[in-house]
Amino acid sequence: MKEKDIKIIEKEMKLANEGLPEMERDLFADDRPSRIEPLNKYLEQFLNWARARSLWILAYGTGCGAIELRPLMTARFDAFRYGIAGRPTPRQANVFIIGGYASLKTIKRIVRSYEQMQGPKYVIALGSCTINGGMYYDSYNTINRIDYYIPVDIYVTGCMPRPESLIAGFNGLKKKIQAGQCDGMNKYADNFDWYKANQKQIIKDWNMPDYNW
């Protein structure tokens, strides 16, 4: 079989959704995420330009770092002037800020929310805990490397990083987006099985579909 054919078959392959009870399998979609190529280079450049100026954060504080988002959005630092706005639903947001440590319980929700975001989507990992576990590196309950579970575009170090560093992170993200280097969505689709295996390794009661559309 040719490589091309294998790709097509992989694309069409449905997810097993084995974590779900038989009754519920009809209620969840079982499509695999797939790689999406841009239509046109110049159009994509234009869109990236716009994307970089309209960053919609998912309003989901996954850890203690979420406390830094309040000063970021309010009068002191006013991130809205850069086109950074909050959005209450992952369907509409395109930036996901992992706010610090991700516990076992949270990582499940992070994965779900990340998968429910519609690409192109970007992840900012905030604080040391997301990089190597930070001060919780030896905790039984805190994951050490967030990029083993979802693709990350920008890390902001510190414990806690102040809003200024967060804004710096956003600026970095903007530059990356405008340069067309933020391709987390496709990375996730390409390495879907690897990510999924990592996730499943720690989330033992996997009671959701393999990909939360």
């Binding site: 994307r51 006013d78 809205f80 086109g83 706005a85 639903t89 519609q118 690409g119 192109p120």
Partner: protein, 303 residues
């Protein structure tokens, strides 16, 4: 040939109105930011947002009705706009006002709302019907003072034809309905608060209660269309109010000035008041504004 020119005119008219509506929203953001002592986003931020949402590469759909919901909404906004004359005496901006009168416009507003409600309903998210139930209920209550105001001005001008109503208000500021029939205008302006869904009447989107209500499942281009419509629809409503109560407009700058002022009315009230609970909002509309509306009808019809 005539038809093609008409279509081109309509397209121009809609484009202008949409851009104007988007800028209007941008200005509102700016004003809110200034009230908060922030700098605020650029006024063209809504346009960037729309490009961004349309630029999403993937989208999820819950079915045909979900797919068509935003289309219905947009059609409702475009239709509402197109069935109104925007600028008095202008050929380009007279739109399709010959298709019907004020009643048509009032009912076409529902077209988009109903379609969107159905689309959001198919999304299956519980917040959608919650928001819609709130929205429909509130809509039914603020329609009452509004319809009383409309009836009042229909009696006043002996017509339901918007162009004629505008024509009757020409020739000086004192000919505006605002001064000839102030009670009706008060009732209508209060119901405009409900229509614009700024706080204290922001029951539908209610970010802290049912974030963000009906469009919670809308993503990508669906959202983009909804946002475009939000701008167009806002300007359509403002144009309607301008035509009915504030003497209409004879050229584009006047139109922008007037609609901007009308919009600021609800914006400032929205910036100053916290949100009502649903039943408080319904009761509010069914009390004072309705009484003012009834009074306006009685004053015009029988006194």
């Amino acid at each position: 040939m005539d038809i093609f020119i008409k279509i081109i005119y309509a397209a121009i008219s809609i484009l202008v109105a949409t851009l104007y509506g988007l800028i209007l929203i941008g200005i509102v953001h700016k004003i809110y930011a200034r009230v908060h002592r922030r700098i605020g986003p650029p006024v063209w931020q809504p346009i960037l947002d729309i490009i961004q949402t349309h630029g999403r590469k993937v989208a999820t759909s819950h079915g045909i009705m979900f797919f068509l919901g935003p289309v219905f909404r947009m059609a409702g906004g475009m239709g509402t706009y197109l069935f109104m004359p925007v600028i008095f005496g202008s050929v380009v901006f007279s739109n399709y006002s010959m298709a019907g009168d004020l009643l048509l416009v009032m009912y076409f507003i529902f077209f988009g709302q109903l379609g969107m409600a159905l689309g959001a309903g198919e999304g299956g998210h519980p917040y959608s019907p919650l928001g819609i139930a709130r929205g429909l209920s509130q809509m039914s209550t603020f329609e009452l003072p509004f319809s009383l105001a409309v009836i009042s001005i229909a009696i006043q001008y002996q017509t339901l034809n918007i162009t004629t109503i505008v024509a009757a208000q020409q020739g000086g500021m004192l000919n505006w309905t605002l001064f000839t029939n102030p009670l009706a205008v008060i009732a209508a302006m209060i119901s405009l608060l409900g229509m614009n869904m700024h706080s204290p009447f922001s029951l539908v989107l209610a970010p802290q209660e049912i974030p963000i209500g009906p469009p919670i499942e809308m993503n990508g281009s669906f959202l983009g269309i909804l946002q475009t419509n939000r701008a167009l629809f806002a300007s359509a409503k403002l144009v309607l109010f301008m035509n009915l109560f504030f003497g209409g407009a004879t050229n584009l700058p006047i139109m922008m000035l007037k609609t901007f002022s009308i919009y600021m009315f609800s914006v400032f009230i929205g910036a100053a008041f916290p949100r009502f609970r649903p039943e408080q909002s319904f009761r509010f509309f069914l009390r004072i504004p309705t009484l003012i509306g009834i009074l306006s009808v009685i004053v015009i019809a029988y006194l």
